[in-house]
């Protein structure tokens, strides 16, 4: 039983991180219907900013969080303005846009290798490493930071989409871009906003996974595919879907590793993803009205 609870703690923590990455992914999809291959590398960049600012320069963690979110958010915003928008203006196909994010992914990974080297590096946690013992279960204090950060991010986004007209306008832009313009919504600023937020949430995810797994330039791919899996499991573009999907991926990975074998934990996640999609082609909480785009 305590084994089970111990695994559960780890699973929820990991799930909270995947949920954050899926959240960023879903935000970008919501306004621009774009599948962002660079999502994992943006998270990696967040972790790397943590390596330098928290590890090397010992800045306070709140400042590190702020810097990571702003730097990565602005970077993806710049990518949107410098590459994606010019492409859209030339009526580029969706495939071209997706390929552009693949290029960004490669660029970030290469650049990170040049700046930080290929080796794994530690990201210090803001709360030290003395484990807490609660009813026989070991809880690394950083886990609380992870779950707390994720919870705050999701609550903020729930409020944004459910309670503010700007949040609803953002959704509307994705559903009917033309009609959104006709009611006065500026699609350029909406897409810019999602790019900033999407990049920012990815960075946040990377920054807080750093103290658990270490940080390295090649960590992006694995984060990206699990973020995708979480997003699709929950339903593309769905906010509660990102949370649910993230938690499921975290559970499958942790319990798969705990009860089957860590070698098969990825295969278990993706087998579950396939099976769930076959039964529910728009994910668990996705709306059949919001289908994936056709190429």
């Amino acid at each position: 039983m305590s084994d089970f609870l111990q695994l559960l703690v780890g699973a929820v923590t990991l799930g909270a991180i995947y949920a954050l990455i899926a959240l960023g992914f879903n935000l970008i999809f919501a306004a621009s219907r774009l599948m962002n291959f660079a999502q994992g590398d943006l998270a990696m960049l967040g972790a790397m900013v943590g390596v330098t600012l928290a590890g090397t320069l010992h800045l306070p963690f709140s400042l590190v969080v702020l810097a990571a979110v702003v730097v990565v958010g602005l970077l993806f915003l710049a990518f949107n303005l410098g590459v994606l928008r010019p492409l859209a203006k030339r009526n580029a196909t969706l495939t071209s846009m997706v390929m552009a994010t693949l290029a960004l992914s490669m660029f970030l990974q290469g650049a990170a290798e040049l700046i930080w080297g290929r080796l794994e590096q530690a990201v210090p946690s803001p709360v030290g490493s003395t484990p807490l013992l609660v009813g026989g279960i070991v809880i690394v204090p950083h886990y609380l930071v992870v779950v707390g950060t994720s919870a705050v991010a999701f609550l903020a986004m729930f409020f944004f989409f459910r309670r503010t007209l700007t949040g609803k306008a953002l959704l509307a832009t994705g559903f009917e871009p033309e009609a959104a313009r006709l009611v006065g919504i500026n699609p350029v600023s909406m897409v810019a906003l999602t790019c900033f937020l999407g990049g920012g949430f990815a960075a946040l995810g990377g920054l807080i996974i750093g103290p658990i797994t270490f940080a390295a330039p090649w960590m992006g791919l694995s984060l990206a595919v699990k973020g995708f899996a979480a997003s699709m499991l929950g339903g593309l573009g769905s906010l509660p879907g990102a949370l649910l999907g993230g938690l499921i991926v975290g559970l499958l990975e942790t319990f798969g590793a705990g009860y089957v074998s860590s070698a098969y934990s990825d295969a278990i996640i993706f087998l579950a993803l396939m099976l769930i999609l076959f039964v529910r082609p728009a994910g668990l909480l996705g709306s059949p009205l919001v289908t994936g785009e056709h190429f």
């Binding site: 007209l165 609803k168 509307a172 033309e178 313009r181 006709l182 009611v183 006065g184």
Partner: protein
């Protein structure tokens, strides 16, 4: 209130509208009729900034709005009900309507509630369905949402593209009854409509488009009895 001078526009490399002059007087309704492919929809979409204007000018209430993009035009008081309704299908009816007020810089919670109340009074069916996902409504109800959404911006000019398309007679009578009420309150209208009789009976003046040019224009009443129009668009019995 709206004056279009020598408007030229098209899609891709194809010029579809070749120099149109058109006026809508303060609070009046104007119809644009013509065959399929005559450039009516292109014309309307160019005015509201959805398609690039190649040359010519558009003035609204004395202000040059030629270079404004679609979302800026919505803010100066022009609302466009697009062809095919284009409602935000996954959102509920009330959210669709609320988004209609997005263009209003002076909106407050109270003004939005007041406007919503007014739309529900105009279209009582929408009140019953206010929490329903818009994509599940019938075509007629979706058109009501589209018109209601446009009215939420408190426009002074309403552009309507094929408001009767695909609707049962009973529904388009209901929608046109509402449009007449709005007109009576001084909102100007520019209506593109295939149902020529419906268009002419509900407007003061009309323009007949032919291959991207104005072939004929005048008071709607006169066009209803004009022999050319009768022959081309009103027909006898089929």
């Amino acid at each position: 209130m709206l004056e279009v001078r020598q408007l030229v526009s098209g899609y891709g490399p194809v010029e579809a509208v070749h120099g149109i002059d058109l006026k809508v007087a303060e609070g009046k309704a104007v119809a644009v009729i013509g065959a399929n492919g005559a450039g009516k929809t292109t014309f309307l979409r160019t005015i509201s900034g959805l398609m690039p204007l190649w040359s010519g000018s558009v003035t609204f209430e004395g202000r040059d709005v030629t270079r404004l993009s679609a979302h800026e035009l919505a803010r100066v008081g022009i609302s466009h009900v697009p062809e095919g309704r284009k409602v935000f299908k996954p959102l509920d009816v009330e959210t669709n309507l609320e988004l209609g007020s997005y263009s209003r810089r002076d909106r407050t919670g109270a003004s939005t509630r007041q406007d919503l109340e007014r739309i529900y009074e105009l279209f009582p069916r929408l009140r019953e369905r206010r929490r329903q996902v818009t994509g599940t409504l019938s075509g007629g109800e979706q058109q009501m949402v589209a018109v209601g959404r446009a009215l939420m911006g408190r426009p002074r000019l309403l552009l309507l593209d094929e408001p009767s398309l695909g609707l049962a007679p009973q529904i388009f009578h209901e929608i046109f009854a509402v449009l007449r009420r709005i007109m009576a309150e001084g909102v100007g209208m520019l209506i593109v409509e295939q149902n020529v009789r419906l268009a002419l009976e509900n407007t003061e003046s009309a323009y007949v488009f032919q291959t991207g040019k104005v072939a004929l224009h005048g008071p709607s009443r006169d066009l209803l009895t004009n022999e050319t129009v009768k022959k081309a668009y009103l027909g006898g019995s089929i």
